[in-house]
Symmetry: C2
Subunit: 419 residues, 2 copies
Amino acid sequence: MITSEIIAVGSELLTPEKTDTNSLWLTETLNEIGIEVMLKTIVGDDELRLLETIKDALKRSDVVITTGGLGPTEDDLTRQIAAKALGKELVFRQDIEDGIRERFKKMGREMSETNRRQAMVIDGSDVLKNDNGTAPGLLYEEDGKYLIVLPGPPRELKPMFTEQVVPRLKDLAEDFVVKRRIIGVSGMGESVLDELVAPIYTQYSDVRTSILFNKTHVEIHLYLKAENGDEANAILEEMTAKMADALGIAVFTTKGESMEEVVGRMLFERGQTVSTAESCTGGLVGRRFTEVPGSSKYYMEGAITYSNDSKMKMLGVSAETIENHGAVSSQTAEEMAVGIRERSRTDFGISITGIAGPDGGTDEKPVGTVFVGYADANETRSIKLTVPGDRYLVRWRTSQAALDYLRRQMLKQRGRDKV
Amino acid sequence: MITSEIIAVGSELLTPEKTDTNSLWLTETLNEIGIEVMLKTIVGDDELRLLETIKDALKRSDVVITTGGLGPTEDDLTRQIAAKALGKELVFRQDIEDGIRERFKKMGREMSETNRRQAMVIDGSDVLKNDNGTAPGLLYEEDGKYLIVLPGPPRELKPMFTEQVVPRLKDLAEDFVVKRRIIGVSGMGESVLDELVAPIYTQYSDVRTSILFNKTHVEIHLYLKAENGDEANAILEEMTAKMADALGIAVFTTKGESMEEVVGRMLFERGQTVSTAESCTGGLVGRRFTEVPGSSKYYMEGAITYSNDSKMKMLGVSAETIENHGAVSSQTAEEMAVGIRERSRTDFGISITGIAGPDGGTDEKPVGTVFVGYADANETRSIKLTVPGDRYLVRWRTSQAALDYLRRQMLKQRGRDKV
């Protein structure tokens, strides 16, 4: 098995505000060609620690990838320290300097003298062209070990890696491929889910199965490393089908799609339309519907009715309903759903009213109390939810539950249509 | 200076889907008590690599923190490998087992035999009580070096660290405190900004200044490590004031607030209200307004008018305007802003219409063409933006620009009121 390590370089990555996102993308891309990532390190602009980290990595892994630290300033150490770790010199390449100078010229600027550093390369390494920035990458190979030095900005790193590195590593790792599946499950707790699928995944010992909480749902991740991609896919298909069977309607995707993609696809395929009326989610459901390209085909309009007044004016909720049952009630939710559906003339109306917190909760209706309403041509329904978490989570989980409620109603409707 | 390293343990952290968020929180908490994080490592459930990583870390850093890998299964190696790295034995502690058994009992369950592993501790270490899970943490100290072993789940790790680890490390690092400021700047590119503030930050060589792109704006991060917290704060205040002066209205916060918090605070303080009409952002601006607790005081309602029909029906945009100028035009944006303001009877109406892509662009109005409309009691205005990026970024940047447009108009209005 070919093993790899990723070293992200840069002091800003050691502050609380910055995460290293390159390594997620690199992991995925390496996994696809059958290379496993065994370790990730984040190191600041610190000579000794960086040197030690690169040296250690070269000792234990086949492919070592560094990201960042290739800028023109003195803080940018990666080029020089990588050379040191290999026991090599840096050599100046006139053609690279010419390229950088040309790049600046095109932007109507003069190349700064500091940029000459970027024309230094590790002796004996291959230069990886950078079409989106000034710093070229470097690839050094010796005795089947690789040190690959990449720039930090994702729009420079990604095309460079895909076009110039992957083709070379692919041959290296041709014996293995990694295949994955992500099954999204909604409205079911982790332990119940585990009980239902454990009898399945325990039969597939080659497949690594993880059950992961997401903020709004649970995901089953299947991961299989195999010599033959088609066989691996067949095994994962079989396993996925069994799991979907065991979990029933709670499975909303077997392809890692988001809930809004799934519901959007269902609406599009049936040529049906939807509109939304949101109170405590304040536009989040509308935003999620419209996140999907092409959503204008089925998502018509939404009302964000935050005040009682706007619930009455925009949606025609009656003053008596709010008076007698409150703005957070099944009655208000249902009138909101009917109201938005009628005024938008869509097939479905979906509504949300609830208490997202941190204030506004009462003994009877604590923070997290939410009603989701549904209306179609024939019926009006609602459900009450008690959503755990802070304001942010209550809103996200509610938006997921509302999309899922529509999905389930549509599946039931199809069931009825068939009869 | 006291240096630290964080080692996150768990194979799931080496997949493309999972990020290590604990380390961000730990970095922030350590920084606050003057301890700098020099390196972060993510390692899988792999004995040899984990052993090497912990050993190396202990050689070069004063405080080494591991997170995760304390579960009851055989995969959970941290306890055992940490002991090995220190050259110590694991010893069984009956009182811990009793505690775990008690915990299970309270939940009406039997303790599984595998949980007995969690009662093994490194000989000579202090046990860190876990009120939110079964695995206790461990703190081992020798010759001023610390190895701190923490559970992975954030709700177990955070209180344990705050209550039981910080008080001990604080003494260690009492000579230093770290203070930060985050200045948010909107509507100004990084290079222009740098030109304006470089004359300021170059005068403060002790303060680390970083200029960072965020997806919607630019942030200036100031970071100062000093012996005296009050003096450090005074220096940062002075520097912040100079920068705010140099950058003018483009600075929307000097306290790291989000744009929706800033605009929300302004509305709240003035007792004014706002409503929104969104097309291509599909509810994102409403969602951002209502993300802030207490927003019901100033955010009244929103219309998500995705179709032309709904722009006419919900907002009273005239058919002629759409016919003559198109749905994506300054005229439509202004009629939308006036329409939502009138029907919600708010002080301000804000509208957005544009092309978020990937489809729908034309030569004349390419993807990223967006109009933001504004209406108050006295005037109606709009701006045209050309927003770079994919659908996701176009929508985010547009929502930021719309909030910022309102902020700037409100500041101007105040200017006029004063005259």
